[in-house]
Every structure is written in C-alpha cells, then in structure tokens.
C-alpha cells in the first residue's frame, strides 16, 4: 500500500482506507449521521455525487494555504461520506458515474504533479501511482514520459480514437513517448475502474436516519438512467451478456458495443431503439452514441459501409463469448435461434 501524506489524501482520497482514516481523525460514521455541525460534509458528499451524475468534475481548490486546514479534511470526508451514501443506495449506475468523475478529478492532480519541476515529491508520488496501481513503468525524458509498448497497449486499447493507436505515437526502442496530459489520460478507465472496484468491495454500513433522506434523493436521481427498452425475441448469450453489462451500468468494451449494435441493427432494430441501451454506460453521450450507431448502419460515413455482426470466433477472441448449448455450433450470433428451428 502507498503511504499517504495529508496533501496526497486530499488529491487522491480513493487511496485511503476509509474506515481507518475516519478513526485516525477521531470520528465515527454515526457522528456524520447525527451531528448538525457535520451536516455540511454530508451535503457536500451529496453534491459530489450529484455533479458526477451530471458528468461534471468536482474540483475544489487545494492551493489556498489559508483554507488548507479546513478544505483538506472537508474534501476527504466528503469523498468518504459519498461512498457511504452510494453503498447505502446500492446504485451501480451512480457508483460508475461517480468513479469516472473522481478519476477525472484525480487526473488533473496527477497531470499537475507529473510536470511540477519544483515539487519532486509530488512527481515521484504520481509516478508511484502509475507503477503500483496500474503496473505502468513511466519514466521522464525531457518534456515527455516514456512507457514500455506492452504497458501502453494494455491501456490504449480502451480508446476508440485513432490518435491512441500505436501507429500514431512516437515509438522508439520499445518505448512510447507521451505528454503528461496523455500519460494521465491513458489510465483514466483503469483509474475509474480502480475507484469503482474499491467502492464496490467496501462494506455497506447500516442505514442511519441522518443518511436516509440523501439516499432517497439518490434513488430519484438514478431514475433518469433507468432503461425502459423492451427486449423481445431470443438473443444469443453474448448479446444478453452485453445488455446485462450495460444495464448494470458497467463499461462495455469497444468491441462489445460494436457487437451489440451491429447485432441489433442486423435484427432490424432502429437507431431510436438501440441508442437508449447505452444510456447507463459511464461515458454515455446521446449525440455521440446515435452518431456511432448511424455510422455502423451505413447511413453515414464516407464509405457508407454497413457493418455486420462479428463472427463467433472474433467474439471469442475478444472474450465476449458466453457460449451455451443453445448456440448449437453457429458461427455468427446472427444465426442464433434460426438454426434451431
């Protein structure tokens, strides 16, 4: 485990052991639920989740030395109480949104720390986060950071944009050269996943009266992400699984999204029917999603290529195959059900 100073905990609160931190500071969870003086922290925690749900990044100033004494603990506590509220609500959609927003927030600090020539400790700490949490060996060379190609590829495959492809990177002697901004952006999904998994693996505390109202409000907040699409007909297990992943608000890989959208297009569904399925994805953006499905359908795009659902073999190689006896030796998910008749 990385040892944390006061500054680091405020920037990267997800690295702290929540229970231990509260204890060290002499607080109990009940106090937050009952003490009116601590109400402000619970309110801040709620705001933090709310802004995450709206895809905004909670980004308090940590630099003002006059406020440092009060803002530091307030930031850490509001993060920890936000987790308590999320655990009590049990809403995966919100947990994922919150994790992504917190990852974005941490990204800003990481980026600043990586380039802060004056503060060697912060820089070393940022490099340590890369190494210890994401198994990425990152080294500073002039104004660049260099990362071994295999480490780079493991993270870059999560991006859909062409600029992240290795061919569009400066590569030299087995290393990829990145700017500080790119280095940090590279680990966003993993960082968000890391925060999410820490939240999911944390124990759920018992409900206190002081938190009940906030938790109810979170349920109401999450309602707008509920998918009401009716799914009919027999879908192969890979497609069922992909829909399930999305419904849970978990991130579906690029190849998974491609498979799902091309499959549904192939079954004659319209863009209006398909787009809402992606509503729960942590990076949901209706305009972008609709545009992408349109591209797949061949309605737009230079080549007007209509993309078809990938073969079972390809799906298997992308770890998206959940074969059952019902698949009955089909070679493409589109054949599912048809062959059985």
């Amino acid at each position: 485990m990385i040892s944390l100073g006061q500054d680091e905990i405020a920037k990267y609160p997800f690295l702290a052991e929540a229970g231990q931190y509260l204890k060290d500071k002499g607080f109990t969870l009940e106090q937050f639920a009952t003490d009116p003086d601590l109400r402000i922290i619970v309110d801040k925690a709620y705001e933090r989740i709310e802004s995450a749900a709206e895809d905004k990044t909670y980004y308090p100033e940590l630099d003002d030395p006059s406020e440092k004494e009060t803002t530091l603990p307030l930031n850490v506590f509001s993060f920890l109480i936000a987790i308590v509220l999320l655990k009590l609500s049990g809403l995966n959609t919100l947990i994922n949104k919150f994790s992504l927003a917190e990852a974005r927030r941490a990204e800003k600090f990481l980026q600043r720390d990586l380039v802060s020539n004056s503060d060697k400790t912060s820089e070393e700490f940022a490099i340590k986060i890369f190494r210890d949490i994401f198994s990425v060996t990152i080294k500073k060379t002039g104004g660049y950071f260099v990362i071994p190609i295999p480490d780079y590829l493991r993270h870059a495959v999560n991006f859909h944009e062409r600029e992240w492809k290795l061919v569009n990177r400066h590569v030299e002697n087995g290393m990829v050269f990145l700017s500080p901004r790119e280095s940090v952006r590279l680990i966003r999904w993993k960082l968000s996943g890391y925060i999410g998994s820490k939240i999911k693996s944390a124990n759920t505390p018992s409900m206190s009266d002081g938190f009940e109202d906030k938790v109810k409000r979170l349920s109401a907040l999450a309602k707008k992400f509920v998918v009401n699409t009716v799914v009919t007909g027999a879908y192969p297990p890979c497609i069922e699984h992909a829909i399930e992943v999305l419904n849970k608000g978990e991130n579906l890989s690029h190849s998974g999204r491609f498979m799902l959208a091309t499959f549904l297009l192939g079954r004659g569904q319209t863009i209006d029917e398909i787009a809402p399925l992606f509503k729960n994805a942590p990076d949901w953006n209706e305009k972008v999603t609709r545009y992408q499905i349109k591209q797949l359908s061949g309605e737009t795009g230079g080549s007007k290529t209509k993309y078809v659902c990938p073969s079972c073999e390809k799906i298997k190689s992308n770890n998206l195959c959940y074969i059952t006896p019902d698949c009955d030796n089909i070679i493409n998910p589109m054949q599912f059900g048809r062959k059985r008749l």
Binding site: G174, S253, S317
Partner: protein
Amino acid sequence: MLENDLKFLEETFKQYYFDHFDLIHVPDRSKEREYGYKKFNSGMIRHMSLKTDKDLHLMLMTNAPSDVFCSNGYYSFPNLPMAEKDWKEADLIFDIDAKDLKLSCRKDHTCMKCVSCAEISLVQDACPKCKSNKLDLVSLPCQNCISGVKKEVLNLVKILTTDLQIDDKNIRISFSGNEGFHVYVTNSSYNQLGSNERRDLIDYIKFQSAMPERFGFPKNNPSRISFPDLGDSGWSGRVAKELFGSKSKRSKTITKIISDGQVAYQQKLEEMKNSIGVKIDSNVTSDIHRIFRLEGSLNSKSSLVKLVCQDIEKFNPYIEACLIGDEPVEILANFPIKFSLKNTKFGPYMNEKTSVPKYAAAYMVCKGIASISDT
C-alpha cells in the same frame, strides 16, 4: 482425394517422419502447449498434450498425419477444452504469405481447377470443359514470390528489433512449407498481450490507420519543420524516406504536400501501407490460442517441410525444404505451366502420364495437379 493418392501421400509422409525424427522436436515448455493434427481427407483433432519428442514421434507413426500443429499459447491444462485450459501467455507469431503480396508474377504461375469437373486450365472466366464458374486457383509460387516474402520478413524483423526492441536472439524464422514464412517471437514482454492489444500492434506493423497530424500535417497552420525527417526513428523515418527519397528533395516535396492539402496527404499515408507496411496476416498475429504448424513437419498443401531458416537471404525452399526421396513414381499430371524443385525443371504437363521423382509426385498430388497412375 482419390484412394491411390491418399495411400501414396500417407505412406510418403510417414516415411519422411520415420527418416527425419532428427528434424522434428517438441518446442520449449512442451508440457504447457496444445497440439493438434489433421489426417488426409479428415478434420482437425486438437486439444492434445505431448510432453516429449518420444510422444510426438509415436503420434506421428500412429496417425500418419497430413499436418501437425502446436499452440503459440501456454496453458496450465493444454488438453482440456478451450475455456478450461487456463491461458498463461502466448508467443507473438507472424505469417507472411506470397498470395498476400499481390505480385505481378502470380498470374504467370497460377492455373484454375474446376470444382465441378476437376479440369485444369489457364485462368479464364469459366471452365473450358463444363462451363462451370465454380473455380479454384492453383498457384505454384516462383523464386520472385519467395524473394518478395523474404523482403517482407526482413522488414518485419527490423521493426521488431528496433521499434519494438525485441532481442534478435528471441526471433526465429521458418519457411512455412508452402508459399510463405513464419516468424516466432518467444520470451518477450509482448507474450502477455491479449488479442485486442495484438491487433493494435498489427496495425502498427502494417502501417494502418496513420493520421496526417501524427506525421506532421495538422488541420490548421501546417509547419514545414514538423514533417518527418529522414533521420527519425520508427515510422517517421520510414515515411520520410518514402515521401522524400533524399534529403535534398525534402523541402520541395513538403511545399507540394502542403499545397495539395491534408486530405491528399491522408490519402498518401493510406496508400503507403501497401508500399512500406509489412504484409503480415492479421488473423494469425491476433490469435492467442492458435495452433500453428510445427517446425519440421510437412505441409499437406505442398509436401514441403516447415523448416527453420538460419540465413533467410540464402535460403531456397524449393531445394532445402524438399526432403522427400527421389525414387521414380508414375503419375498422371495436368498443369500447363513449368516449375522447378531441387534444381530440376518439371512440366508443362498436358494431362499426360509421366515418371517423376517421388518429391515432385508428392508436390503435385498435394497441389491437386497430378494423380498416382493406376498402372
């Protein structure tokens, strides 16, 4: 396949294995690999485990396979079904095939075989005998094809050793036994990569999806200085060489590129995948569970051996990988184009009975252009 041909090839292949146990070994970490084989006129048998050379030789003698394969992947339980094997890692593998190079010589040594009546003729729209348009192409690659593939292999190895910093001690090149070469990378930091990561690596090696911005031409205000330079490492240097040829032409060429615009430059970069990208088979390299032809085994598409090349530039597959005996065999041959094996010229054959050395008979039967004569 006709019964006579089947019997001939089975016996010939078995004899080869019996005589060449010295050439066919299990690879390193054999206990962690999956093996598979095919028999003539039959499907693939896989999910086998072979621990030692002895196990392998016994399998060859018992089954007289047409083709033998071994996984690039390492597993805890290689003989269990795929989902239960517990994949650990996989060697990085590459296949470069002459047919993917689209060389102009190909039409000179390609014939077509009618699927309906088996008539062999020069390439045309329909079968001259039965007018069917279900046709297979049969090609016997020439030295030019082999030279073309070798050039690609050397380009690949250059990228592997420089850009990817792979130690050349960990790179092994083999003739595939038909019309290409296989490249293995073992013990590298790339072994742990999954299929998706390998696909990105494939695009890198093939020089696919390159963006003009990366190669010096942003949307707005292109600057002459940001274009690649001949001394740059990696793709920048190779692109500069392709674009400018020499240092003296750099400035003039950049002026033209900028005046032609970014879209034209993008087009140019896309076309460059054909000239400077390495033509590897994507399906092979992205596969981390592949069973890949075993070195030292025969390829049933040709009866030539998949053989490790110590010096690829000097290697001549039609001499060195042709290891079947030369006792005369009577065949009925039909192939209207000449070819050469072991420094001997054969053909053209116009549906005629002839006597050829066994290695040539096996080659032609495997290619589907001859049958073992009844008499």
